[in-house]
């Protein structure tokens, strides 16, 4: 029997009868049977005991029952002693006393809860405000928004992209929290235009809310194709699978990664687990954030007035520009400091180690633009035990710059970062650039005694084009 009405327990030897529609009244003997009916120890089951009204004899018997007395003490059951000839009014008064005590306790608890809630609300509001500021700081000014966290290479083996009825199911080797994009590899030229639809789902249970999206594919398109979620999921880190299907006339084929001995990473097609996962590149970002407009450098950056993010890993490898004048070339050999330009895969960043004697400039090809008017670079000093480093960025039509001297006039303002700082370097182009371009990434440590551990990184680029006249 489950009861939510408060229960008044009256010892059997009290003659008076008592009843009230808001209370359940039970004789002590019956109550004792109820709580003794389960297992080998007394248990109060689904009861809200208001109190016990016991005669002196019943109370003595009650206290002599050690297990029952222990339970009553643990459950803090209120108790009153009444004479055996107590009247109905006396019982009523006892019930009222119990209710009054209970009312006080409930009010006190309620007040405590309200105070706790108020404190939680206050700290929650403060946290929300702080969080928003932090988001703004991190999102708009500092770290890159995409981090490539896993790469599974493409092989010659392929899998047909099915229709919406039986989507491919690819387990993700990252939690749903913060997952923002995935590159899949179109093995052959898409036979016709269509769209890859994708969705982030739980292995068991409902799909992740708001994670359905699609990517248009042009006819004859092939190679890596980026699928970006509208917003990265938040919440606790959870396992997730990616569901993929094709909407269009004739489906393209996706490349598979090498065979894997671990079934928990392999793609499932038509309900049958395969022997390999899909070839993938996986990206993460800040949880609950929309993905920034990430540009795919295999297409031209359109002239639409928008700013797009380009990741270093999507561009061609960087190369260090030489100095053109011979004396400097010779002198380079005598430079005591170390300089190098390379791509850091793990950080997905271009590393341009500065010199204390001269600017070091890296040239990064691989971008085609239409009416490029502004470039920003997300820059970072990777270590904390070094000296301040200056960064600059610029862009030139592809193939027009072959030395540092030629590059320097095209750079924007120099931006200095302290050790372990993030920042932004900026370059406005007086004349919009169109066609293939080269990015110029420069670092320097003027007036510094040494350049030890000067790990200068370019972690991402934001490119802004001028809106076309038709749009304008």
């Amino acid at each position: 029997m489950t009861t939510t009405a408060p229960l008044l327990v009256i010892s059997d030897d009290i003659a008076a009868e008592f009843a009230h529609p808001s209370l359940t009244v039970m004789r002590f003997g019956a109550w004792r049977d109820r709580i003794g009916a389960f297992g080998d120890r007394p248990v109060i089951q689904d009861m809200i005991v208001l109190g016990l009204c016991l005669s002196p004899e019943a109370e003595a018997a009650f206290l002599a029952d050690a297990a029952l007395a222990d339970l009553a003490q643990a459950a803090q059951l209120p108790r009153k002693t009444l004479s055996v000839d107590a009247s109905r009014e006396a019982l009523l008064a006892a019930a009222l006393d119990f209710l009054a005590d209970r009312d006080v306790a409930t009010r006190q608890q309620g007040a405590a809860d309200r105070a706790a809630l108020a404190e939680l609300r206050r700290s929650h509001m403060q946290m929300q405000t702080d969080h928003a500021e932090l988001e703004s700081w991190v999102w708009d000014a500092m770290a890159p928004k995409f981090t490539r966290v896993r790469e599974w290479p493409a092989t010659a083996r392929t899998l047909d992209l099915p229709g919406p009825d039986t989507p491919l199911i690819q387990p993700l080797p990252v939690p749903a929290r913060g997952f923002i994009a995935v590159d899949v590899h179109l093995a052959t030229s898409a036979p016709c235009a269509g769209a890859i639809h994708f969705l982030l789902a739980r292995p068991s249970g409902p799909d992740f809310e708001g994670t359905a999206a699609s990517q248009d594919i042009r006819a004859s398109e092939s190679g890596w194709t980026r699928l970006i979620l509208p917003r990265a999921p938040g919440g606790f880190p959870e396992d997730a699978v990616l569901k993929l299907w094709w909407q269009g006339a004739e489906a393209p084929q996706l490349s598979l990664a090498p065979d894997s001995p671990f079934v928990d990473v392999n793609v499932t097609a038509g309900g049958v687990p395969g022997s390999a996962p899909l070839a993938l590149n996986i990206y993460q970002t800040l949880p609950r954030q929309p993905g920034p407009p990430l540009h795919d450098p295999r297409r031209a950056l359109p002239a639409d007035g928008h700013t797009r993010l380009v990741l270093p890993g999507d561009l061609s490898p960087p190369k260090a520009l030489p100095y053109s004048r011979n004396p400097v070339k010779k002198a380079l050999k005598r430079y005591p400091d170390f300089t190098r330009v390379e791509f850091w895969e793990k950080e997905n960043a271009v590393f341009v180690h500065p010199s204390i004697h001269r600017p070091v400039v890296a040239l990064v090809p691989g971008l085609t633009v239409d009416a490029l008017v502004q470039i920003e670079a997300i820059i970072r000093v990777f270590r904390d035990k070094t000296l301040p480093i200056s960064f600059a960025i610029g862009a030139v039509p592809s193939g027009t710059v072959a030395s540092v001297e030629e590059a320097l006039p095209h750079l924007g303002d120099w931006m200095q970062l302290l050790p372990a700082e993030w920042g932004e370097a900026w370059c406005g182009l007086a004349t919009p650039l169109s066609g293939p371009i080269d990015l110029l990434l420069a670092t320097a440590m003027p007036n510094m005694p040494v350049n030890r551990e000067a790990d200068a990184l370019f972690c991402g680029f934001r490119l802004t084009t001028r809106a076309s006249e038709a749009q304008g």
Binding site: T2, T4, F38, G39, R41, P42, V43, I44, Q45, D46, I48, A67, D70, L71, Q73, A74, A75, Q76, A105, T106, Q109, A112, A116, R150, E151, W152, P153, P173, V174, P175, R202, P203, S204, G205, P206, F236, P237, E238, D239, A257, P258, S260, P261, F262, D264, V265, P277
Partner: protein
């Protein structure tokens, strides 16, 4: 909210002090949505906070029919869980599974979808345990590879917040209410496993564990040693004997063996008798996979490269398991262990482990004066290297640990030039331990690569697909590996539960009783023959026997002696026969052993149900360890010896001294049992096993021998012989005197035997025909066939086997009444007993009478026989005694 009349899942939330956090757990449990119905049962375990009851009463108002609240006085977490579970199962017969949710933890909203999938898709799993997804102190660790009992033995893989099928509780498995200090969940999984239930890891997220800097679990970690001890005592079904090693072998063989012959495929085994075919490609793939997920992939822990037929040759001599054990044990201090077969000029068998060379160090020296020292050191270092290279080159078998091969695989990402050099370095550099196996003959030579080359080639093949290695390394899950025992630790886990040593590579077939006989020497002595005869009789009754020779010398290379044993294991160390410990009542004990030797001695015995030790004083130091692991130990006593001053001494004194650590004391005679009882050992611990004949023969042979003897003409001379060691204990000098005293009688005297240690110093007259000592069964049969009377003028004896062997084929024994000889000979009925002094005179007189009156001899001959089944009766008695002595 609708009433859950037929819920599928009960979520049981015990609450003690977590009054506020419980609201979160209850809210999460009540909010679950999915294809299953749930009921939530909150158990107030006598929480001192009134708030708990108010909160529960509030939830009862909010979710009537879906929520129950029970209140009891404080009984502890286990009791609270049990109460809620009992209530759920009693109240709702529809419940399929229970989820104990601690009040400070949470379930994800989609959990019921996960539960439904689990219950439907994995009907064989009995409980489902989550990943370690922590919040508060945020972290995420996965729950390891597939469920494995040996890993559960080492640490708790399964969080209490698991989905538990009803059938486990229906089978009577509950949380132990006495375990209030922690680890009650670990105990619960072990109890369930004991009844044959098995868990399964859940890969998708659904459960959140609140991790605070201080938690109840931290408290139980503080008592880790005590609680582990408690658990190990309670779950002896898993922790006793070598059960953890056996459970590990169930999951993956211990050895991968590559024979270097042409076209030979590798095979896997734990016990070299049980080979599982494999392929090099499959093993390579597994190594790569294990490099990517070391906690998930089960692989053999020891890799063996052997010339063709070497292990077969050892297996023919029942030494294959022992050889693998020695190679494995040697890897505790070495990077590579190398076994070499050599021919023993003594014709004995002996396995000797030699510790790895410690290369001579080269110290940095700067002054010119020290150049000479430097040159010497470099030379010594080179010599050591050369010796090490020679050991590798001459090896017939090599063994390396899995991690060594994984280091090969890890080279895949290196630069090719460096890689080649590193492969060579990994093959030929490092500490090399040698195991020498001396045999009476060598394995027939067959074509095959040297094992070191085979190792190098396999290592090279591991790095030939670097792209694959790099790709596999990217298949790690997003959660961290948990900080608990995993597959990669399995060798260490097995060693830990084998008392730090290497368990014997033996797979138990069914529940056959396994008995190990431990002896410090194994030649052709009487005690050895007793062991062999008893083992043969035990085997005939379905017992599997193993021989453990724990001494400092080789063992007899006679196949008939080792025939009754399933395996033979040898451990050679001079400390195993060191008798320089303190004296107990005038008998020396063995001094304390080093921990390594103790581990090496004890660990292989853990696979035995019972161990019978004969004359191994060193083993007495391991009695408590053996019994602690559930191995029954019996000491088998044969003889009290007499020293030069007439004082008795011998191992029976040690048996008395170590009586408390022994389950049984076996004696070769009733008389010795009485003596030991008189020295304070309860008779219930004593089991006399009266000796029988010491070598096997069949009934036809016996009948033939008796008939031939009876068919001899009465006119032919009486053939009287002495069989055995030519020493004073056996009375060889007395025998010569008897021969001298009987020169005038028509008797052909002979001696069959030799001195144990070189020349006995005895001058044997030409009138005595001499025969070499008889070792093989045919030689022994022949030795008795050429006798009518066996003369045994011994000064000390137990109950000599020779008497029964003689009686069996109709040879009349005449023996001095020493030791328990009178238990085998009833004077004038089945032999003659010579009592008191003047043994030479009495025996000569007796021979004189017998030659004068051949009917006296015929009369005694008729009383012989009826002793053939004595060992069978002994075997039956031993099996029954072990059964009686086995702890409940």
């Amino acid at each position: 909210m609708a009433t859950a009349a037929t819920p599928d899942i009960a979520i049981v939330i015990p609450i003690y002090r977590h009054s506020a956090l419980a609201d979160e757990a209850i809210a999460a449990a009540l909010a679950l949505e999915g294809p299953l119905q749930t009921v939530v049962i909150a158990v107030d375990d006598g929480c001192p906070n009134a708030e708990t009851r108010l909160a529960l009463q509030g939830w009862a108002h909010r979710a009537p029919g879906h929520f129950h609240h029970l209140h009891q006085s404080n009984q502890g977490l286990s009791a609270a869980r049990n109460l809620g579970i009992r209530f759920a199962l009693d109240t709702y017969p529809s419940i399929q599974a229970v989820f104990p949710l601690d009040a400070d933890n949470l379930l994800d909203l989609h959990s019921l979808h996960v539960f439904a999938d689990l219950l439907q898709t994995d009907p064989r799993a009995d409980w489902f345990y989550p990943n370690f997804d922590m919040f508060g102190l945020n972290s995420a660790a996965h729950n390891g590879g597939p469920f494995a009992l040996p890993l559960l033995a080492a640490s708790n893989q399964c969080e209490a917040g698991s989905l538990i099928r009803r059938r486990i509780f229906d089978a009577g498995v509950w949380f132990d209410e006495a375990m209030r200090a922690g680890y009650e969940d670990w105990d619960f999984w072990l109890s369930a496993s004991a009844k044959g239930f098995r868990g399964a890891p859940v890969k998708p997220s659904f459960f959140r564990y609140r991790k605070r800097p201080e938690s109840m679990l931290s408290g139980s970690h503080g008592q880790d040693v005590i609680l582990r001890d408690q658990i190990q005592k309670k779950h002896r079904w898993l922790y006793a004997h070598d059960h953890v090693a056996q459970a590990a072998a169930d999951l993956s063989p211990r050895f991968a063996v590559f024979e270097t012959g042409e076209g030979a495929d590798p095979w896997l085994c734990t016990d070299p008798r049980d080979r599982v075919p494999s392929s090099a490609d499959a093993l390579r793939s597994m190594i790569w996979a294990a490099n990517a997920r070391p906690w998930q992939v089960w692989l053999p822990q020891y890799w063996v490269f052997t010339r063709p037929r070497v292990l077969d040759h050892l297996a023919d001599r029942k030494l294959a398991a022992s050889a693998l054990w020695h190679l494995q044990t040697a890897l505790r201090t070495a990077d590579v262990s190398a076994l070499r077969l050599i021919q023993n000029p003594n014709g004995e068998r002996q396995i000797t482990s030699i510790a790895p060379l410690t290369l001579s160090p080269i110290k940095k020296r700067s002054s010119p004066e020290e150049r000479r020292e430097l040159a010497v050191e470099k030379r010594l270092h080179r010599q050591d290297r050369a010796r090490q290279a020679a050991i590798l080159a001459q090896a017939d078998v090599l063994m390396v640990r899995l991690d060594r091969l994984q280091r090969f695989a890890a080279l895949a990402t290196g630069k090719p030039k460096r890689t080649a050099a590193e492969v060579t370095r990994l093959t030929y550099r490092g500490k090399v331990a040698e195991v020498r196996v001396a045999l009476e003959d060598l394995a027939p030579q067959q074509q095959g690569q040297p094992p070191a080359e085979a190792l190098k080639n396999f290592g090279t093949s591991l790095i030939q697909d670097p792209a694959n290695s790099v790709f596999l390394s990217k298949l790690t899950p997003w959660r961290e590996a948990p900080k608990m025992a995993s597959v990669k630790d399995i060798a260490q886990i097995v060693s830990t539960f084998s008392l730090g040593g290497a368990s014997y590579p033996l797979r138990r077939a069914g529940k056959t009783l396994q008995i190990g006989f431990v002896t410090p020497i194994f030649h052709f002595g009487g005690v050895e023959k007793c062991i062999v005869a008893l083992a043969a009789a035990l085997r005939a009754q379905g017992v599997t026997c193993h021989l453990f020779v724990y001494g400092n010398s080789g063992m007899a290379a006679a196949d008939w002696l080792t025939e009754p044993f399933e395996t033979v294991h040898q451990l050679c160390d001079r400390d195993l026969r060191n008798w320089r410990g303190p004296q107990y009542l005038g008998t020396n004990t063995a001094p304390a052993l080093s921990s390594d030797l103790m581990q090496n001695m004890i660990a292989p015995l853990l696979g035995m149900d019972a161990v019978v030790t004969t004359g191994s004083a060193a083993l007495f130091h391991g009695l408590s360890a053996l019994r602690g692991k559930g191995v029954q130990v019996a000491s088998w006593e044969h003889l009290l010896e007499t020293d030069g001053y007439g004082r008795m001494y011998g191992t029976p004194y040690l048996a008395v001294g170590y009586e408390g650590g022994l389950d049984l004391i076996l004696t070769c005679s009733q008389r010795l049992a009485s003596w030991i009882h008189a020295n304070g050992v309860p008779s219930a611990k004593l089991l006399p096993l009266p000796n029988g004949p010491g070598f096997p023969t069949d009934a036809d042979q016996i009948a033939q021998a008796v008939t031939e003897r009876q068919g001899r003409s009465p006119d032919t001379p009486l053939r009287v012989g002495f069989l055995g060691r030519l020493d004073a204990q056996k009375g060889a000098d007395r025998y010569v005197e008897i021969v001298q005293a009987c020169r005038d009688l028509p008797i052909d005297f002979s001696i069959t035997g030799s001195a144990v240690l070189g020349d006995s110093g005895l001058t044997i007259p030409d009138s005595i025909t001499r025969y070499p000592a008889a070792y093989e069964v045919a030689e022994l049969t022949e030795a008795f066939a050429r006798l009518d009377v066996l003369l045994m003028p011994s000064r000390d004896e137990g109950l000599p086997l020779t008497i029964m062997e003689a009686q069996r084929v109709g040879v009349v024994p005449i023996a001095t009444d020493v030791g328990a000889v009178s238990e085998a000979i009833e004077d004038g009925t089945n032999g003659f007993l010579i009592r008191g002094h003047d043994v030479v005179l009495q025996m000569a007189d007796l021979l004189r009478r017998l030659t004068a009156d051949p009917t006296a001899l015929s009369k005694v001959r008729k009383g012989l026989g009826g002793i053939d089944n004595r060992w069978d009766a002994n075997a039956t008695a031993l099996i029954q005694a072990l059964e009686r002595a086995r702890p409940a």
